[in-house]
């Protein structure tokens, strides 16, 4: 008897995505769906789609979904999760969405320790609008709004979201993974599993960053894009866990006792 060991997860609809060929958005979607299946969460999950290439994510996942304004997914997720704490809520955001226009929303959601999960797709560019510079664009990387390459004198250095958010005192789970390297895909899934598990246990805010590719706007074929993510992005965006809820609180915290 043939045993199927790999097929479409139930949390992913039977439709073709609009993503460009070889774009890692598709792998990331599938990993989330697999984790929702494995943890048995699909029927109580609400996703929040961003503005960016993943704007139509709600057509691909087989669960309730809302479409947020650009950058505001963490605020919207806060509203949903606070009102219905039994739901599993996740946002799915690009780097322009999360690290530029939505910086305040993601920072404060993490700081409040909102119990939802953020999937952050860092492809170092604005994909949907046609390849403009993102806050995560690499130094000297060309984009349509920095045709001579990102000039760190005027644009600053790329924003490292995991590094920044993991400095927040409030406990959280922060990890950076990639789907651009086959052998890293299982590890990416492990991180997602942990992130959703922490949420299901009502423990902490969780964010998993995916070092991703945008073959179309990088002007590379999909394989070359994956190689570029490894050679040019990963040294600056190292993979790994940056923070877990088991980390000790920093010293010097003088917690004020509440009235009994």
């Amino acid at each position: 008897m043939i045993e199927t060991i790999f097929s479409r997860p139930e949390s992913l609809r039977e439709v073709s995505t609009h993503y460009c060929p070889g774009c890692t958005h598709g792998i990331t979607h599938r990993l989330i769906a697999e984790v929702l299946d494995e943890l048995g969460l699909r029927e109580r999950t609400v996703g929040v789609a961003p503005v960016g290439c993943a704007v139509l994510a709600y057509n691909y996942f087989n669960c309730d979904f809302a479409e947020a304004a650009h950058g505001r997914a963490p605020a919207m997720a806060t509203g949903i999760k606070r009102c219905r704490p039994n739901l599993i809520v996740f946002t799915y955001q690009g780097d322009g969405d999360l690290a530029s226009i939505g910086t305040a929303e993601i920072f404060h959601a993490a700081n409040r320790g909102e119990k939802f999960t953020v999937i952050f797709v860092n492809n170092a560019i604005y994909g949907m609008t046609g390849g403009q510079m993102a806050p995560t664009t690499m130094p000297n990387q060309k984009a349509t709004t920095c045709p001579f390459g990102r000039d760190v004198e005027t644009a600053g250095y790329p924003v490292r979201v995991c590094e920044v958010l993991s400095k927040i005192t409030t406990p959280s789970y922060i990890a950076r993974v990639t789907a651009a390297v086959p052998k890293e895909i299982p590890r990416a899934k492990d991180a997602l599993r942990k992130a959703f598990q922490y949420q299901a246990e009502n423990r902490c805010f969780s964010l998993v960053e995916f070092v991703s590719t945008c073959p179309t706007n990088w002007g590379m074929n999909p394989l070359k894009a994956c190689e570029w993510a490894v050679s040019d992005m990963m040294p600056y965006y190292p993979l790994g866990e940056f923070k877990t809820p088991d980390d000790p609180l920093p010293a010097g915290l003088n917690l004020i006792e509440g009235d009994e």
Binding site: C63, D64, F65, A66, A68, A69, M76, L87, E105
Partner: protein
Amino acid sequence: MARVLMKGNEAIGEAAIRAGCRFFFGYPITPQSEVPEYLAKRFPEVDGHFIQAESEVAASNMIYGAACSGTRVLTTSSSPGISLMSEAISYCAGTEVPVVFVNIVRAGPGLGGILPSQGDYWQATRGMGHGDFRILVLAPNCVQEAADLIMLAFDLADKYTNPVMILGDGIIGQMMEPVEFGEMVDPETLPEKPWALTGAKGREPNILTSLFLDPNVLEALNQRLLAKYRQMEAVEKRWETYNISDNMDLAVYAWGTMSRIGKTAIDELKERGIEIGLFRPITLYPYPYEAAGEVASKAKKLISIELSTGQMIDDVRLAAPGREVNFFGRQGGIVPTPEDVRDEFLKLIES
């Protein structure tokens, strides 16, 4: 429940609780901070949740999310904060989810001042955000009405799955008056919202979006919204008239706080035998044009009095086409006295 003496802003908070609202997301701004302060204290008694957001942008998108989850929710702010909320208000209108916003208007533009104003009339009734949409706008003129309209606002928001705004000013927010609240609504007993995001257990997933890339689908949404607005215009107009008679020397148009000042002036002039009537729209959108026009037909002269440079006057002109509409207003947070208004009426009648 007995009447209690309360500040307008606190009455707004209490009325929201009575309406079954258990969630508030907001950001401090004068002159509405008493609403979040009241709720932060009162909510724990009713198992409610107060969340201070990092900005009005976030607060409004939080209530957008909360509304998507099918929960009764409100936020309150004042002019500069409401400008930041216009994004979410537009999204709520496009997604068709029920939310209640309160704008305790302060004088502008820009950071302006913290004193009362009616300068956000156009924003609320004409341009509350990008795109082709309308929101219901309710304007109380006393603490009791503020409480009543809050309760109504939640019902209307649910009925039309549309944002509803309460437009008040610093005077309504700060003044203390006796108020009697309606029956406490148990949030558990509110009608189900089958479209809400509650987890797709045993049903197809619900999707709430305001994105419609197909122009035909988007036009269909625009047309559906229009039909909804026409329905609001047909059945939701509310107004008050005061001292209307068939041969008035003057008809006064005023909303909110200004209507009270107008009434005081009218009472004083009545004693001198001068007949002045007052028309006060309670719904600023939909504006009660027909009723306002009927009042105009009974008066020799018309005047709109406002705490702005003249915004509602546009609607008075629409209500009374061909008629000259005069204007009196103060700005910058200055509230005219009944005597100022009386003198203005006299000047106009005698001219």
